[in-house]
Symmetry: C2
Subunit: 189 residues, 2 copies
């Protein structure tokens, strides 16, 4: 299973490192194998709070993915209007088993046009902005699933989203092993 | 207030990004200012689960710090024997207001010789290894404070450590604002 994690200038650090850590730990508890790669809009990428990352691949040379994680952060305000980013999400959507958004990453899915008629969540400060889309239903929960699109609320809830996916793909025991391993107390969705 | 976050090959991603995110958010809720920099043992740094980082400064050109965060991860097994890393921690110890360790980062403090006669915690899988140090007291709690050294248990507990520091420096209201902002449910130490 290969998981791509989108990174762009101004991405919020925990939005993408939270799921990255939780999903990576599946390998450590003896399940998987699960391959994680950062997919960069440009390189290097400067995250919102200053962390500088060298992405593993670019939008153009990204291999086939089973899962794509779209994080949020202030930088999403620019990415919402970057056609190559929106095209990437839209074009990859078909091949994916799961498309995950964390925090305001859900606005990239909205702008890519793949949330029409669907339910989604986002960071609580952006609830009203999401409700302004006439064809999208905002659900004010921590994790919202609609088909293969699973969205999380703000920042730290991306970790609970990753646990949700682990539970679905590998089962509750593996999810519990990961939570013990990283000493994380999961929050009910 | 300037906070240095040590990064090295094989550092566990959430060990350092957890505190990085939580502490950075102090600026977003209108407190601070709080400056965060990654201090690299070498550059770029490849974290244990594959994330590649460009550190802001090296051990050699790191400016004066108020707080140093020492994360863990498999790479600590090498850093425990890297004299320049241990010297850095030992030499900076005097100038620091707080020295924080996350997960197995506590072993770098132990090897630097600054835990003698002190209490500390670490990742639960490394409890016995820490207990083997004759002059260090292991305390099996999530957060352990001994003077200006504050240590956290495994991986995710580094976020609770960051909240502990925020509460001490900026007060409980700021800590609560940050927790609301990143939608994190704190775990009692």
């Amino acid at each position: 299973m290969r998981i791509g994690v989108l990174v762009f200038d101004g991405v919020e650090e925990l939005d993408f490192v939270g799921p990255w850590e939780v999903l990576s730990y599946v390998n450590k508890v003896g399940s998987g194998p699960l391959e994680l790669i950062t997919v960069g809009v440009g390189a290097p990428v400067k995250a919102f709070n200053g962390l500088t990352i060298i992405p593993d691949v670019t939008l153009g040379d990204c291999p086939e993915l089973d899962v794509l994680v779209v994080p949020g952060g202030k930088g999403r305000l620019i990415q919402m209007h970057e056609l190559k980013t929106l095209d990437f999400i839209r074009q990859r959507y078909e091949e994916l088993s799961y498309l995950l958004s964390v925090c305001t990453g859900s606005f990239l899915l909205a702008e890519a046009g793949i949330l029409r008629g669907r339910s989604v969540t986002t960071h609580h400060n952006a609830f009203e902005e999401m409700e302004a889309y006439p064809d999208i239903t905002l659900s004010r929960r921590r994790i919202v699933r609609d088909g293969k699109i699973i969205s999380a609320g703000g920042v730290a809830s991306g970790m609970d989203l990753a646990f949700y996916l682990i539970e679905e793909v590998y089962g509750a025991d593996v999810a519990a092993s990961v939570a013990r391993g990283i000493e994380y107390r999961r929050v009910d969705p």
